[in-house]
C-alpha cells in the first residue's frame, strides 16, 4: 500500500507547527508563500490519492498493525473515492482561501495559516479514517481550528458571540458522538468500523445499539447544521472572515453528513436492515425541515453573509434528503451537489469579502447600487448564483438530475417539486442581493428583512482589486463548468456504490480482499429533470424580482398575503434568538425527538 495516504494527512499537520515556530524569523510574505505551497502540495497529493482510489479502496495500517483473524488492534486509514474526494475538495478550497488571503491578515503573522492548515489536516484524517475514535478526534481537531478561525476578528462583539455559540453547540455535538462511540465500544469491544459492523451483523438491534445510533446521528447532525441543530451555523458564518467562510460553506457542514453516511454504511446498515424505511423517513424528515427553515430565513436576511449562511443550511437539507434515500444513487447525487455548492458558495463568500473590503459593508440595502463599478465581482456573483440554481448542464445540474432519479424511493414528484421550491427561495435571495448591490435595482428599503446592527469592520486592508476578484472568478467558473463534465456522474455513482457496500468494506479492511464495485452508466437524462431544472432557475429569477419590486404590487394583494405570511415569518425569526442557551435547548429537544422516533420505530 502506498505511503502517499499518511503523507497527505501528515503534510499539513507538520507544516502548521513548523510555520508557527518559524513564523517569527521568516521575512514578510514568506509565511504566505509557505502556507500556499503546503496547501497546494497537499492538494496535489490528495488528487493522486483520489485517482488511485478508483481502482479499489486501499487500506493503510499505522505501524503495520494488521488485523489477525478479523480482530484489529491497529488503526487504519481506509481510502475510498468518496472520502478521497472530500479530502481533495477541502485541500483545494484551503488553497483558494490562502491565495485570497494574501496580505489579508498582516497583523497576525502566521497564525491564520497555521489554523487553516490544522483544519485541513484534521479534515483529511477525518475523511480517510477507518477507525471510529480517530474520526472523532480528527473532526474535533477540525472543529477547534474552526472555532478559533471564527473568532479571528476578536476585537468585535459579533465574532466573539458567534464563535462562542459555535464552540458550545458543536462541543455538545461531539459529546453526543462520544457517548455513541462509548456504547458501541462497550457492546463490540472494537473501534475499527469494519470490525464493529461485523460484530453487530446478524443480530437484531437492541436498545443499546439503537441509542448509540441515535446519539451518533444527532451528534453528526449538529455538526452538519441540520434543523433544529442549525442555529450555530448562521451565527458562525455571519461573523467569520470571508476566506474562512469559504471553507465552512464548502466542506465544514458536509463533514457532519459524511460522518453520518460513513458510520451508517459501515456499521449500522446491516443490523438496521429491517428498519431502513424508518431511518430513511427520519433523515428525510430532518432534511425537509432543514431545507424549509434555511430557505425562508435566507430570503429574510439583508446581511449578505448571513443570507448565504442560511442558504447553506437549505442546501444541507437537500444533501440530507439525498443521503436519506439510503441508496447509492442518492448518495452520489448529494456528493455531486456538494461539489457544485462548495465551489459556488466559495465564490459568493469571496464576493462578500470584496463588498466588505471595497464597499465597507455587507448590508444589502445599504449597498444598493454601490457595486456598479465592480463588474468582475458582479459577473462572478451572478455566475455563482446561476450555478447554484442549476439550469440544465450547468453547476449542480448533475446532482439535481441524480437526486431526481434517486428519489423514486421517496415519491418522485413531490421530491422534485420540493427541491425546486427550496432552490427558488434560497437562490432567489442571492440573485436579489446581487441585483441590488451590483445593478442598483429594487427599492431602497424593505421592512420585511431582519434589522441589522451596523457593526461594520473598519480599517480593512486595501489590496489590489484583481487579487480579490480572481480567486472568486476562478471558483465561479469551476462551479459553472462542473455541471457539464459528463464523466462526473458515472464516477460519483461508482464511488457511492463502493461506499455503500458494507460487506465489501469489511472484507477489504479485515481480510485485505480488494474489491471493486461494478462500473455503472449514468441513467439517461429525462425530460422531467430538465423541466424541473428550468422551473427552478426561472422561479429563482422571478422570486428575486419579487423581492426587489415587491412594493409595486397592488396594495390589496400585499396586505392580504402579508397578513397571512408575516406572523409566521416573524415567529420563525424569533426562534433564532442569538442566545446560546436557547440553541442548546433546541439541541436537546432535537436529540430527544430523534432518539424517540428511532427507538420507538426500531424496537416495536
Amino acid at each position: 500500500m502506498s505511503v502517499l495516504v499518511p503523507v497527505t494527512f501528515a503534510l499539513p499537520l507538520l507544516a502548521a507547527p513548523l510555520l508557527a515556530g518559524a513564523g517569527f524569523w521568516l521575512p514578510r510574505r514568506a509565511d504566505d508563500v509557505a502556507g500556499i505551497l503546503a496547501a497546494a502540495a497537499t492538494t496535489v497529493l490528495a488528487a493522486i490519492v483520489l485517482v488511485r482510489s478508483f481502482a479499489g479502496s486501499s487500506v493503510y495500517w499505522f505501524g503495520g498493525w494488521r488485523p489477525r483473524g478479523g480482530v484489529s488492534l491497529g488503526i487504519s486509514f481506509v481510502v475510498d473515492p468518496l472520502g478521497a474526494a472530500i479530502a481533495l475538495l477541502t485541500a483545494a478550497l484551503v488553497t483558494a482561501a490562502l491565495v485570497y488571503s494574501w496580505r489579508y491578515f498582516d497583523e497576525v503573522g502566521t497564525l491564520f495559516h497555521v489554523l487553516v492548515l490544522l483544519f485541513l489536516g484534521g479534515a483529511i484524517g477525518f475523511s480517510y479514517s477507518g477507525d471510529l475514535f480517530n474520526i472523532f478526534v480528527c473532526l474535533e481537531l477540525t472543529c477547534v481550528a474552526a472555532f478559533a478561525l471564527t473568532a479571528f476578528r476578536i476585537g468585535e462583539e459579533g465574532p466573539i458571540e458567534g464563535a462562542f455559540n459555535f464552540a458550545v453547540t458543536n462541543t455538545l455535538g461531539a459529546v453526543l458522538i462520544l457517548f455513541g462511540i462509548g456504547l458501541l465500544y462497550g457492546r463490540t469491544g472494537a473501534l475499527n468500523l469494519a470490525q464493529i459492523g461485523r460484530a453487530l451483523e446478524g443480530r437484531s438491534p437492541d436498545g443499546l445499539v439503537v441509542v448509540a445510533f441515535a446519539l451518533l446521528v444527532a451528534g453528526f447532525l449538529v455538526k452538519a447544521g441540520a434543523a433544529p441543530f442549525h442555529f450555530w451555523l448562521s451565527d458562525a458564518y455571519a461573523v467569520a472572515p470571508a476566506p474562512v467562510c469559504v471553507l465552512f460553506a464548502g466542506v465544514m457542514t458536509e463533514f457532519g453528513l459524511f460522518g453520518l453516511a460513513r458510520i451508517f454504511w459501515t456499521v449500522f446498515a446491516l443490523p438496521l436492515d429491517d428498519a431502513f424505511g424508518l431511518v430513511r423517513w427520519t433523515l428525510v424528515g430532518f432534511g425537509i425541515l432543514t431545507a424549509i427553515v434555511g430557505a425562508l430565513m435566507s430570503f429574510l436576511q439583508r446581511h449578505v453573509k448571513r443570507m448565504l449562511a442560511f442558504s447553506s443550511i437549505a442546501y444541507t437539507g437537500i444533501f440530507l434528503i439525498g443521503l436519506g434515500t439510503l441508496t447509492p444513487g442518492g448518495l452520489a447525487a448529494a456528493g455531486l451537489l456538494v461539489i457544485a455548492h462548495g465551489l459556488s458558495k466559495g465564490a459568493l463568500f469571496l464576493g462578500t469579502g470584496v463588498m466588505l473590503e471595497r464597499m465597507h459593508s455587507v448590508d444589502e440595502l445599504a449597498l444598493r447600487g454601490r457595486g456598479r463599478g465592480f463588474w468582475i465581482s458582479g459577473l462572478t456573483w451572478f455566475a455563482a448564483a446561476v450555478a447554484l440554481a442549476s439550469p440544465p448542464f450547468v453547476g449542480g445540474w448533475q446532482g439535481h438530475e441524480g437526486l431526481d432519479h434517486a428519489s423514486t424511493v421517496l415519491g418522485r414528484h413531490w421530491t422534485a417539486a420540493f427541491i425546486a421550491a427550496v432552490t427558488i427561495v434560497s437562490t432567489g435571495a442571492i440573485l436579489r442581493a446581487g441585483a441590488r448591490v451590483f445593478l442598483g435595482w429594487g427599492d431602497r428599503r424593505d421592512p420585511l428583512l431582519s434589522p441589522e446592527p451596523d457593526e461594520e469592520p473598519e480599517g480593512e486592508p486595501e489590496r489590489p482589486a484583481l487579487l480579490l476578484a480572481l480567486p472568486a472568478a476562478a471558483l465561479a467558473a469551476a462551479a459553472l463548468a462542473v455541471g457539464a463534465v459528463g464523466t462526473l456522474t458515472p464516477h460519483a455513482l461508482l464511488a457511492a456504490e463502493q461506499f455503500t457496500d458494507t460487506r465489501a468494506y469489511a472484507a477489504t479492511v479485515l481480510e485485505g480482499r480488494a474489491s471493486q464495485a461494478p462500473r455503472r452508466e449514468s441513467p439517461p437524462t429525462s425530460a422531467e429533470s430538465v423541466v424541473w431544472a428550468l422551473v427552478a432557475t426561472g422561479g429563482a429569477v422571478g422570486l428575486a424580482a419579487f423581492g426587489l419590486w415587491r412594493r409595486r404590487l397592488p396594495a390589496v394583494l400585499r396586505e392580504r398575503v402579508g397578513r397571512a405570511v408575516v406572523p409566521a415569518l416573524d415567529a420563525l425569526r424569533t426562534v433564532h434568538s442569538g442566545h446560546v442557551g436557547d440553541y442548546v435547548a433546541w439541541l436537546t429537544f432535537g436529540t430527544a425527538v430523534l432518539g424517540g422516533l428511532l427507538a420507538f420505530g426500531v424496537l416495536q
Binding site: 475514535f133 478526534v137 474535533e140 477547534v144 472555532f147 478559533a148 473568532a151 476578536i154 476585537g155 468585535e156 462583539e157 459579533g158 466573539i160 458571540e161 458567534g162 464563535a163 462562542f164 455559540n165 464552540a167 458550545v168 462541543t171 455538545l172 461531539a174 459529546v175 462520544l178 457517548f179 462511540i181 462509548g182 456504547l183 465500544y185 462497550g186 473501534l191 448562521s234 451565527d235 455571519a238 461573523v239 429574510l300 431582519s450 434589522p451 446592527p453 457593526e455 425569526r573 424569533t574 433564532h576 434568538s577 442569538g578 442566545h579 446560546v580 442557551g581 436557547d582 442548546v584 435547548a585 436537546t588
Partner: protein
Amino acid sequence: MSYAPYAVAVWLLLAGLFGIVTSKNLIHLALCVTVAQSGTYVLLLAIGYREHGTAPIFSDVPRSRRAVDPVVQALTLTDIVVGVTVAALLLALAVKAHERTGTLDPAELRELRG
C-alpha cells in the same frame, strides 16, 4: 457490575445541559460544558472497568493479572485534551466578551438575531 456509573454519566450530561440552557454567565456556561463532557469520561471508564482489575501496566505485576481496559483510558485521556482545548478557548472568548461589552450575561450578548 452495578449500573451506578452509567447513571452518573447520564446525570452529568443532563446536569451540564441544564446548566448551559439556564446559564446567566459565560464562565459558568463554559464550565457547564466541561461538566457535560465529564459525563463521557465516566461512561468510558465504566465500560472498561473489570472487577478486581489492576491498572493496565504490566512491568511489575504478572501478565496473568486481570487488568482494566487500557483502550478506554486512552480514549478518556484524548478526550480530556480535547475538552481542555475547548474550555480554554471558551474562557478566552468570555474574557474578550467582557472586555468588549462589560457583561458576561449571554442574554445581553444578542448581536446575532433573526
